[in-house]
């Protein structure tokens, strides 16, 4: 029972942590998509319907984004660790790649939810399940992908500043004068 509470609490914390960060961009990718991601059957912005999702989906997307960024960071500094990449442009190559991968992941993840009907809403008045077209569209999904990309870039930059120092060949990248 205690472990379960702890797990739930840590999941709540991660949900809050990632949810707050993603919501820096909620006006960009849409409040309805944000409400869907928050989970807990939140209402749409016009109050006419509510989503059916239960869990906070920012956790899954956030952890995926975080792991991809961590992997790309590790790849650059400790796996490839190539002396010839010890330049700003070498780091930038991996940084942009990380951004693009996360853009695709965020975009395709939300788009797959949209297309599979998981974002369908329940109309409050009729109680019937309808398509979310009036609230979320594919452009919002792409914008979410962009938001995911921006966060991934911030994460990889932070990882670089914090953990690059033990790299044998690239410890100064990207700030190589």
């Amino acid at each position: 029972m205690t472990n379960k509470t702890l797990n739930l609490n840590s999941m709540d914390f991660l949900g809050e942590f990632f949810g707050t960060m993603y919501c820096w961009f909620e006006t960009f990718f849409g409040l309805d998509l944000a409400n869907y991601m928050w989970g807990g059957a939140l209402e749409t912005t016009d109050g006419a319907a509510h989503f059916q999702s239960e869990g906070n989906m920012f956790v899954v997307v956030g952890i995926t984004m975080c792991l991809i960024s961590l992997f790309t960071f590790t790849l650059f500094y400790y796996i490839v660790n190539h002396p010839k990449l010890n330049h700003w442009w070498g780091w930038l190559l991996f940084w942009i790649s990380n951004g693009v991968i996360n853009l695709i992941v965020g975009w395709s993840w939300t788009l797959s939810h949209l297309n599979s009907g998981e974002m369908n809403v329940i109309e409050t008045a009729s109680g019937s399940e309808i398509s979310p077209d009036d609230y979320i569209n594919s452009t919002d999904c792409f914008c979410f992908g962009i938001s995911n990309m921006v966060l991934a870039l911030i994460f990889m930059f932070a990882f670089s500043l914090l953990f690059k120092w033990w790299s044998s060949n690239c410890s100064k990248a990207p700030f190589v004068k």
């Binding site: 010839k84 044998s168 060949n169 190589v176 004068k177």
Partner: protein, 482 residues
């Protein structure tokens, strides 16, 4: 530290000292002996001599900015001491003088003059001495007598300050080595005179120490020919007969006075352009000079306890082809002892020189991670005079290796055109595989970045230690040299 005084006599002496300087720069171990070169050459404008002095000055300039107390670096570790009066033991009264003016033929009595004219041909007597003795040991033995016989000193023929300075600085445990050729004028006459003076002269400071010191010498037998020039006094056809005559003299007068006498020759005579001396006499470095320099290294590792040893330098008999030595000599043709002394340090320095030649922009910038860890201002360090001198020296080292490889017979130790494949540098040795995603210069840079540099040492020492340790590891792991 004990000192090894190396007397380099004549052109061959300077050329051998050039090879020795290169070996010392590469960190070849001299068993703790500091080297004190003393060059005896009346031909002060000789290209080999000026080149060698420039090189030794450059060596000392670089070495003077390094501190070996804490650093693990061994490049340039052995001191090359310059005497109070420079590296030269000056031969006086030879400038713009003919031999007859030097001996004062015109002031001699009639009988003495007649005797002198019997001993020396008129060509000998008219010979100018500012470019050496032009292959005439009979002239050399008269002129060089001045530098080693202080008891005969006079106002006209004063004691050589440099020789007295050498004697003054001689300490217990120091050794002496004499480099000379046997087929010319200066070396052939200078060697026995010098040896006699070192063993028997009682009018010099520290005479007891010097008389009983361990003395080694290398006698270079003919190894090249000169183009025929009927106007010149030097004729290479006489080299062999002169060598034979001198060997006969050594048999009776030298062999019991010396602890180690090395011989070297090559029967594959390369033909050089005919120059009697001076700045025009630019001969490429030769394998014989390389091996002669290695005899000095060998001498520092031997103990004699009063014994006499006669040694031949050469390539391993097992590598003869049809009973003849190979045309192109590599490390694999060396005897194991020489391989042990020379192969690894020379390879390490060649790797460094080749890296600077091919990848200078990378290894002198902060994109080489180790640079940004070692230096506060990488750019200004690499623009310093020290690095500039070091790069110039590396160029000289590559040039020396190139000359050795192009001469006849070839000493083709390194593949200097290995370009982007730095680990293929040693001829006859394929690099091993190591567990790394990296290859070629990327792997090389990784070795540089992976060096553990001693803290608290100067930037110059850090730089040198980085290259020394990286190449030491490369030669161990990748090229598998002992």
């Amino acid at each position: 530290m004990a000192k090894l005084f190396v007397f380099g006599i004549g052109g061959t002496g300077s050329r051998v000292l050039r090879s020795l300087t290169m070996m010392l720069a590469a960190g070849v171990d001299t068993n703790g002996y500091e080297i004190v070169p003393i060059i005896i050459d009346p031909d002060g404008s000789n290209y080999d001599l000026t080149l060698n002095i420039t090189l030794m000055n450059q060596y000392n300039k670089i070495r003077g900015k390094l501190n070996f107390a804490q650093s693990k670096n061994k490049f340039f570790k052995t001191p090359i001491h310059e005497g109070e009066n420079g590296y030269m033991l000056n031969v006086k009264n030879t400038n713009n003088k003919t031999f007859e003016q030097f001996i004062g033929l015109s002031t001699m009595s009639k009988p003495t003059r007649a005797m002198t004219e019997m001993l020396f041909s008129s060509k000998n007597l008219k010979a100018k001495m500012d470019v050496g003795f032009k292959g005439n040991p009979n002239i050399g033995s008269v002129v060089l007598n001045q530098i080693v016989t202080p008891e005969d000193a006079s106002d006209e023929n004063p004691v050589s300050e440099e020789f007295m300075s050498f004697a003054n600085s001689f300490s217990d445990g120091d050794k002496i080595f004499i480099v000379s050729s046997i087929f010319g004028g200066t070396g052939a006459s200078g060697f026995p005179l010098l040896l006699k003076s070192l063993r028997l002269n009682t009018n010099i400071p520290n005479q007891n120490l010097i008389n009983n010191a361990e003395i080694g010498a290398i006698t270079v037998l003919p190894y090249f020919k000169l183009e025929v020039n009927s106007d010149s006094e030097v004729n290479s056809d006489t080299f062999m007969s002169k060598a034979r005559a001198a060997l006969g003299y050594y048999e009776d007068n030298v062999k019991d006075e010396i602890n180690a006498l090395y011989f070297i020759a090559d029967d594959k005579y390369n033909q050089y352009k005919h120059n009697e001396g001076g700045p025009a006499q630019k001969d490429k470095a030769h394998l014989v000079e390389f091996f002669a320099a290695s005899s000095i290294v060998d001498f520092t590792h031997r103990a004699f306890k009063g014994q006499h040893q006669y040694l031949e330098l050469g390539i391993n008999d097992a590598h003869l082809k049809d009973n003849k030595p190979v045309e192109s000599v590599r490390f694999t043709d060396f005897y194991s002892k020489l391989t042990r002394y020379l192969r690894r340090p020379l390879t390490m320095f060649a790797l460094t020189a080749n890296c600077f030649n091919n990848e200078k922009s990378k290894i002198t910038s902060n994109s080489l991670d180790q640079n940004s860890k070692m230096f506060k201002d990488t750019e200004s360090f690499y623009n310093s005079e020290f690095v500039s001198d070091f790069c110039d020296f590396l160029k000289q080292y590559l040039l020396w290796l190139k000359e050795l490889a192009e001469n006849n017979r070839q000493l083709d130790l390194f593949k200097l055109n290995c370009g982007s494949k730095p680990f293929n540098i040693v001829n006859g040795i394929e690099p091993s595989k190591v567990a790394s995603f990296l290859s070629d210069y990327s792997l090389y840079f990784s070795y540089l970045n992976g060096t553990s540099i001693t803290s608290g040492i100067s930037d110059n020492d850090k730089f040198m230690e980085m290259h020394y340790l990286a190449t030491e590891k490369i030669t161990k792991d990748k090229i598998k040299l002992q």
